[in-house]
Amino acid sequence: MAGVRLDRVRKVYGAVVALEELNLEIEEGEFLTLLGPSGCGKTTTLRLIAGFVEPTSGTILLGEEDVTGLPPQHREIGMVFQDYALFPHLTIRDNIGFGLKERGAGKAEIEARVQQLLELVQLPGVEERYPSELSGGQAQRIAVARAVAFPPRVLLMDEPLGALDLKLRESMQIELRRIQKELKITTVFVTHDQTEAMNMSDRIVVMNGGLIEQVGSAEEIYNSPKSKFVADFVGQINLIEGDVVLTRDGFATLKVAQDAAIRAPVANGDARGTLAVAVRPEHLRIVDSAETADSDNRLDGRVVGTIFSGNLRKVFIDIGMEKPLVLEDRPQNVALQDGAAVRVAWSPSDGILLDN
């Protein structure tokens, strides 16, 4: 087991830059997720660690060892592929035992390890079957067992849950995390699903266009996004643009649509020009028009739609911006009619000031 370090790693395909200079350190035993839209460089990063592609420049370290240029079979890495890539012509036993056999393990040793791993992934008794005889969830577990059979220094997972339906995906998230914790194995997980990333990871790396946008825990990424991209990609968020007119006591006042003034905390001292205030839907409230809480930000608008989803209600409110505001609260007894005039309020400290 070891950590991973990518030091000024750059990857160029012809004229296309897949990865700008990337610096990333993954700690021993950590579950780190690379999150981003397709083409953001997350899969390239994973394939660089695996050794399927070599960086154009920069170095890759596993623990203390520089593995740049070392072919994949000598890196002692385990990998779970999208759609699993189980060997269709081998039994589950031979699939799991593949790496052990390649590294010269004896028959008895392999058999013992296979049994132990089937126990770990909670699928005892399937060793005689072929991959085509397994369900998606089962194949997924076998793919994990194969990847960790010869204890790898690092476990890589490339969108491993993409092919599963929602219910199964959620239980597999818990299952994968359990296995990862049990083995205390350094794991790099690639996904474009932000919920999945937040459910599973110690830390999340949000990537975009071959660059790292932000690195942090799920809470950090969600509560304090550093850019509009991160704010928008992770969870739902309202972005309200405006010009800074005043900065005082750690809060900036912006002039936004409707000539309203809204306030948001300034992270580092000063703010000027056109910025965006980001507010999560759950921080918005619908307030009585007569109600006056001076410190709150307030905007008036009209309801253009509501979605009821059991424990939550989403309300879309047009305030004269390009996109309506999204508000999330508990369903009320009195239904909101489309077209109803409402006043939306939120506490200034819930806003996040972002560069436009």
Partner: protein, 287 residues
């Protein structure tokens, strides 16, 4: 009549028509074989001409006992030749297909056209070309390859290899590269990954190509006719000569015998590798 029953009648008519069509296809495909086997079962007759009757009279295995020795020997040679050709075509064809599918050589299209060329040249031209080549080599070195097993193998491998390249290319294009990556990352060297994963997965294509190669060699007359020598003749060439010279129903018996042998061979191949491998590789990666 209501719409439902009209539909029912139409469906029944459609089914009958479809079955009749299938039956006609089978009759068309199988009738030559039935005639050959049927004629071979004629009993002894006064004249040779009378022995070519269909349907046969006085059914007996009379002519089976009179298959000339030379034909049996030729048959043995043909089987051996076709076997060697099939194996060599695979040994040459699989790497060729790998190169064509995997590499990004400039001029890949040209190379793949060259590999298909033997299929486009009329076999009789190929035969003459090889004969001339062997004369040339013989005149230079004193070793003449026409009329040797080596010469025949060379000529047949030339026309049979493109079939292997074709079938293996087809399976390789569908091959999921991640299987090979999975083998590599879990500790296999490039060669081991090929041996343990790629090759078994593409094996149905190799078997199919090998079988084509076998049949191409086994059925060939135009090339072999130039490269055989008296006393060293493949089965189809021997039959060809027999038909020209002494025509009698033993040829029918001999041909029927070969039909049965090939049938047994095909069933054996099917049993050994065909269905089983195809089903498993068709199963995909656990979906």
């Amino acid at each position: 009549m209501d719409r439902a029953s009209r539909y029912k009648i139409r469906r029944t008519l459609g089914r009958v028509a479809f079955r009749a069509y299938c039956a006609l296809s089978y009759i068309f495909l199988l009738s030559p074989m039935v005639v050959v086997i049927g004629t071979s079962l004629n009993g002894p007759k006064a004249s040779t001409d009378a022995s070519f009757q269909f349907p046969p009279e006085n059914i007996s295995l009379h002519w089976y006992a009179r298959i000339p020795e030379a034909q049996i020997e030729a048959l043995a040679l043909s089987f051996a030749l076709a076997g060697i050709v099939a194996v060599l075509a695979c040994i040459l064809g699989v790497p060729a297909a790998l190169g064509l599918v995997r590499s990004n050589l400039p001029g890949k299209a040209l190379i793949s056209t060259v590999f298909r060329a033997p299929l486009q040249i009329p076999s009789i031209v190929t035969g003459i070309a090889f004969l001339q080549l062997f004369y040339l080599i013989g005149d230079l070195t004193g070793v003449y390859w026409q009329g040797t097993l080596f010469g025949l193998v060379l000529g047949h491998v030339f026309v049979a290899t493109p079939y292997v390249v074709g079938t293996v290319t087809a399976v390789l294009q569908r091959f999921d590269m991640r299987l090979e990556e999975a083998a590599l990352i879990h500790g296999a060297s490039r060669w081991r990954a090929f041996r343990r994963v790629t090759l078994p997965v593409i094996m149905p294509g190799v078997y199919a190509g090998g079988l084509y190669a076998f049949m191409v060699s086994f059925g060939d007359v135009p090339i072999a006719i130039f490269l055989t020598a008296p006393g060293f003749v493949t089965y189809p060439v021997e039959l060809f000569t027999a038909l020209e010279n002494d025509f009698d129903p033993s040829i029918m018996a001999s041909a029927s015998m070969v039909i049965f042998l090939c049938l047994i061979l095909l069933l054996a191949v099917q049993k050994l590798v065909g269905l089983d491998t195809l089903l498993r590789t068709g199963g995909g990666g656990g979906r």
